[in-house]
Symmetry: C3
Subunit: 335 residues, 3 copies
């Protein structure tokens, strides 16, 4: 029994979503951080070697629904003098960087990944090999390789990523590159579609700096879609689309409370009237180390050809050009 | 690890089902109480405040099948001087009352919810907010609100419920009201169909009384279906259908053994030849606090336009007007 | 918490599969033994009586996918002077015997069940009643009955099995018989199809013998398919098909390491050019009692009308008459 730990998060709250036309009220799950249940373990193998695993599934604690398997993490790794090597379903490199930079730690309705480059950036990925370095004087990094597992074609559906961190006292700098190929898959960039040979290339640079009373967060990224594809949200074509994205955020710790806010702006350089931006503000109050009350507000502004939505009850459908908003009030409990 | 408890029930037994025409023999799960696996926790927050959660999924321990997610319970709550507030998937109010009144505690093949008003009464529901009062001199109660989560229409698919309990020594009185709207949903009253704007209204009054050697159980309820709908079992129309239901039951504790029995009669006031009734008898023998052997017999009597079935192997199909019966012999183990 | 144990295996590795035409590279799960998560318990009831349960689900730790429910085991049992009685989803008798005879313990890509009689032999089955005897001077046995659960027909889809073991010092002898009927089911012998009234009869005899430096493994079996059916892999007809299968294997323990290998030959007596064979070799190195590194190679040789595949990334499609091979390198961790 000591060889496995059962853990998770139950996060449920009231939500009120405006899709620009109508309002939907209800309960929703994972507003502050995704509701989940997981199993993890760490074994000391001696000689400085460890093996660890994590199996983690996302769940919906408003209605009890949830997929089978482990939708979030399913990896095993070896840790040693060489760093950490992991195989399975895990965060890709751009995701690792956003987690460190986002005031909301890439979690919940304020998750910067939901809004980065208009949404849809791949995050956790299957069939992935990762190397995470040890820390060398504040510098650390990671490399990732995602097997495409296509017959007779190692490059189709392949992903590669690299991340470099520098942490020194109050300063944290993150640089990440991620390239993902889509070839014959039916899910492209999180949308239904078919990528004939589409490359999704991302580069991101950001930093956080902690002052006495607050912490500043910022990143700047560029995303390029290159190649032929048919994507529900984007149409059919030989894409050569560049999106530039910038985030500015702040965290103000106030004892048991905290205020967090950020603004994300996406500038589509190749598709007209497809820019969008989002801003998020939250207030949290910790009842204990494990239990937190939260109130969060999210707003997205869309150009006529953009659909960047906010999270909430599934009935809330978003259409192009409409601005959305969501208000969330709930409780997050870690176990 | 102390912050979460893994628990559940494995209940499997032989079952022999007669659908009025043919007999089906096999194994079935959850005959005495539903096989399940769950994760729960309770955190003391200080100042008389607690937070608790429960995530519980139903499983079939005869064949290993089971849905994903948590089909039974998925809620988080705050407990304090104000009582208990819970959000998520949980029992509605009429279900809370039946659990207290039924000799079978609304569990297993004898579950009075299976037979109340001909079957199909909603029990656990998603997106539900509940308040459970503390006990005031024997009186307690609960209120429930089920969000319909329909865009621009807070009343569609909404449910509300109220329950009042009085417990004093050997006496337990339960009064419950439950109203559920069905609007555009594809599952109406547990049947496939579409409710254009159907209201399902239930009121239930019952009591149990414990004598030295036995306990008596009884309830009387009325269910009204009002409004337009298309329901597989009921046809298409503007419903105005009233069903009256009555239950009489007994529990006879005999040391490690117990005998339970009840009779439920449903009187459909508006549809001809649609009355039905059921009776259930069981003998249980506890091998320990956690492990119980059981033998249970269930019988349903249907009018020509009624299909009230008994639980068992899925191959046993029931048709209108046939009387069904089931015999179950198995083991129930709590962990 | 003491009443349930959470346990499992995470097994992930690199795999390179050749389907005879093309190669597919990637990660795959369960190469050395199936990745899984389970919940089990054992309660002492006093008087020499125990109750035990096991709920175990297969998972894919390369991509996090997995079915709902418990695809591997879901049973409850009573243990006593009479032996063990179990109800639910569990190993059938021929599977119990192969587990004891196979150098790979019927696990992972080398699992002899994958190659026995050309593959497709039923193993774990639902709605099954099993009796396992105690050990009497080295002799033990088990009997199994699988309920078909067909209305008004107890013999349709029914399975029966018997197994006899003799274990004495270095010697282990296994004899098993298994008969499974397929009647109107859509899955026949692991293939899509419909058995009108097909019997699948298996008889298997084998032994292992441990010398000082190595252990020898062998079995010989005969499988008969009798009766009318339509099976995707075999066509439509009134089957009267006999397959003879033989396995020879070796285990060489080398301290923390071990070498295992076997060869399985299948001789189809009634269908021309449908013979096939497989050989498997593995090297394992244990980092601890719970964590093992492995390298495994599998090869299958198919006649023109045979498709016996090797395990690996799902994209690797096998066609009739092609020989397949797979190489696997990974880590297996028990928790």
């Amino acid at each position: 029994q000591s060889s496995v730990t059962v853990y998770g998060i139950v996060d449920t709250g009231f939500s009120s979503i405006d899709n620009g036309t109508d309002r939907t009220n209800g309960l929703s799950s994972g507003n502050n951080s995704a509701s989940r249940i997981g199993f993890k373990g760490l074994e000391d193998l001696g000689g400085g070697l460890q093996t660890e695993f994590k199996l983690e599934n996302g769940i919906s604690t408003d209605d009890g629904s949830g997929g089978s398997g482990f939708s979030r993490y399913a990896y095993i790794g070896l840790n040693g003098a060489f760093g950490k090597i992991r195989m399975g379903r895990q965060d890709n490199q751009i995701s690792e960087a956003i987690i460190k930079l986002d005031p909301f730690s890439a979690a919940g309705v304020g998750n910067a990944r939901n809004f980065y480059a208009g949404g849809g950036v791949p995050q956790r990925q299957p069939n992935m090999l990762t190397w995470l370095s040890n820390n060398y004087g504040g510098f650390s990094g990671s490399l990732g390789y995602i097997f495409g597992e296509v017959e007779d074609d190692n490059s189709a559906n392949r992903g590669i990523g690299a991340q470099l961190s520098y942490e020194n006292g109050p300063l944290n700098i993150q640089l990440a590159y991620q390239k993902q190929n889509y070839n014959g898959t039916t899910n492209v960039l999180g949308f239904s579609g078919t990528g004939a040979d589409l490359d999704d290339k991302n580069i991101l640079l950001g930093a956080t700096y902690s002052f006495a009373a607050l912490k500043l967060h910022g990143f700047y990224g560029e995303r390029k879609l290159e190649g032929p594809a048919t994507v529900a949200a984007l149409g059919t074509g030989n894409f050569n689309d560049k999106i530039r994205t910038a985030m500015l955020g702040i965290t103000i710790p106030l004892g048991a409370s905290a205020i967090r806010a950020d603004y994300i702006q996406n500038d589509n350089k190749d598709i007209d009237d497809a820019d969008n931006n989002a801003w998020v503000a939250s207030y949290t109050y910790s009842l204990s180390k494990r239990t937190t009350l939260y109130a969060t507000y999210v707003r997205t502004d869309n150009d006529d050809n953009s659909v960047m939505s906010v999270s909430g009850p599934s009935a809330a459908n978003f259409t192009a050009g409409e601005n959305g908003s969501g208000a969330y009030l709930g409780i997050n409990h870690k176990f």
